[in-house]
Amino acid sequence: MTRTREWIYAWLLLLPAMSLLALFTHYPAIANLWHSFHSTARANHPSVFVGLDNYRSMVEDPIFWQALKNNLWYAVGTIPLSIALALLMAIWVNNRIPGRGILRLAYFTPTILPMIAVANIWLFFYTPQYGLLEQFLGSLGFASHNWLGTRSTALPALMVVAIWKEAGFFMIFYLAALQSISPQLAEAAAIEGASRAYFFRRVTFPLLMPTTLFVLINAVINAFRMVDHVVVMTRGGPDNATELLLYYIYEVGFRFWDSSYAAALTMVLLAILAVVALLQFAFLERRTHYQ
């Protein structure tokens, strides 16, 4: 086969995925950027170029800053915990224990359930007076508490749901990575007298670094993309306590119909995700061992 023909084949093979990505991902992203420099078209006012006006009003928008802050706390609160939990569960179900198949399935279940259904179940858990959590705490003598209706507990309550859901998903990746580590490494370490903790610190954890990097990127993206639970459980309330970035974009765009401002907010979200991904690749990859 000549070189030219090889090139043609290569491009033909790339074409289907490329065209779909271009149509539904790249074009919308660029159109969105274009849109964010214009005003929103109203009944009597067509869209005009306004430069950075949308971004300027964003700086002065307290709800935007509140959403950004909430989202940062949400990420900080959910990501390390869900990853640590995922790793623990993976190590546990990787052992030769009876019924581990069922255990693996049980841990993975939160991931395969539809988000909306999950949110509704948790909504019941958190319901004041007769919710599961209330009944349990009530029986222990605690005073009644409106978990989702109180500023200080609404966001943590959402974070618990996210950790519960994400940990099972990440566990699958850790489990796959653990199974690719030769059991002879553990035997070699056992002969040298290494404890399980030492072996984990010196061997298992470093060998899991590529998985951790992958999981971390996914976790960050998921944290900033979270919207379903907010929609079902709190709708951003009370008093914007659970207002997350994507939910705020949804509200601005589809409830206040200010699509240009929503476009500008979207650009900020994309920028955050891009920076986070670049940082992670740049810093972690250097400390990551790839076989």
């Binding site: 030769s182 035997e187 070699a188 056992a190 040298e192 007298g193 290494a194 010196r202 061992h289 076989q291």
Partner: protein
């Protein structure tokens, strides 16, 4: 006192079809500073036996002692052993130096001591230029050396090796064989070496334990296994090509090779058994010995392997140089009386029966 002793050790695996005995009532004793080979076909229990000595598996029954100390219930780290794995089991994210020093770090050996020992081991194995590399940047032979280095830096009196050379090419294997043997002698280590390669066993070992189906078939020096195999399994397993085993039957004058009418080889009492003669102990001769028909000739350079048929049985003759024979040619085969092995119908070795006087067969 022997360095390693196993006394009636057993180990079984639970499988879907029930328990399978991997090691079946095995006993042996190895002297200190010797190289001992556990040999056998795959699935014979040799690796399991090694893992029992290492403590990576727990014995179902019996007693294992190292240096006179009962270690049957001790964890691997408490048995003062080191081990080289078939896959080398190197830590892929650590450099060669860190791999070799892994055990010393676990035991919190001092920095100077570590550096000194590392330098010595690296010198011994020629690993100096590679200390800062990762295992994936090394060739198979170099990885093997790193695994060896990690084992000997511990300076444990016992070193266990599980088919350490099976992933190397033939030439490298021959070199490493000599190197491991020299290392074992130099450091005075008691080594237990598992292999399925009888050549490796014969060339390296002070003592060979040949196993089959979880049991020991023969335990002795390489020369014992070659010169007086305990049964037909040992006779066929040791030596390349394997020993010729010929069925005997009774004829008017005594026992002859089945399917021939002579010459008579021995008394009729042996007729139910087998006669074994190694291919390298047989000679082709003209008009002298047992008549045979050539089946094929395989020229190997230094020697030729001539496959012959006597009656209904085939056998191989190893003869120096090339031979001017072709398929279908008639020839004669002879061998000396000392080269003969007798086995009873169960395949067990028996002492040589009375020689027939005047048998022209014997040189």
């Amino acid at each position: 006192m022997s360095a390693i002793a196993a006394d009636r050790v057993s180990k079984s695996w639970a499988t879907a079809e029930g328990a399978v005995l991997a090691v079946d009532d095995v006993s042996f004793a190895f002297e200190a500073a010797t190289l001992n080979v556990l040999l056998g076909p795959s699935g014979c229990g040799k690796s399991t036996t090694l893992r029992l000595i290492a403590g990576l598996e727990a014995a179902d029954g019996g007693r294992i002692s190292i240096d006179g100390r009962d270690v049957t219930r001790l964890p691997p780290a408490a048995r003062s052993i080191s081990m080289v794995f078939q896959s080398y089991a190197l830590f892929p994210h650590l450099t060669v130096a860190e791999n070799i020093l892994f055990g010393l770090r676990v035991r919190r050996t001092g920095k100077d001591e570590c550096a000194g020992r590392l330098a010595r081991v690296a010198d011994l194995l020629g690993l100096k230029p590679y200390l800062q590399r990762k295992p994936s940047q090394l060739s198979g032979g170099q990885q093997q050396r790193v695994a060896l280095g990690r084992a000997i830096i511990a300076e444990a009196p016992v070193c266990l090796m599980d088919e350490p050379l099976s992933n190397l090419d033939a030439q490298l294997r021959a070199e490493m064989r000599l190197e491991i043997r020299a290392l074992q002698r130099k450091l005075g280590i008691t080594m237990v070496y598992v292999t399925h390669d009888q050549l490796e066993a014969m060339s390296m070992a002070d003592r060979v334990v040949l196993m089959r189906s979880g049991r020991i078939e023969q335990n002795g020096a390489p020369v014992d296994l070659y010169e007086s195999p305990a049964n037909t399994f040992v006779a066929r397993f040791i030596g390349t090509p394997p020993m010729n085993l010929l069925r005997l039957e009774s004829a008017p004058g005594g026992a002859v090779i089945a399917g021939t009418d002579g010459p008579v080889l021995m008394d009729g009492g042996c007729a139910a058994g087998m006669l074994g003669v190694r291919p390298e102990h047989m000679q082709l001769a003209l008009g002298d010995g047992v008549r045979a028909v050539v089946e094929s000739v395989e020229y190997l350079g230094g020697d030729s392997l001539v496959a012959c048929r006597i009656g209904a049985q085939t056998l191989a003759v190893k003869t120096p140089g090339s031979v001017p024979l072709a398929r279908g040619d008639a020839t004669w085969i002879r061998w000396s009386a000392g080269a003969q092995h007798y086995f009873d119908p169960e395949g067990l070795r028996r002492s040589a029966p009375a020689r027939r006087q005047g048998a022209t067969l014997f040189a």
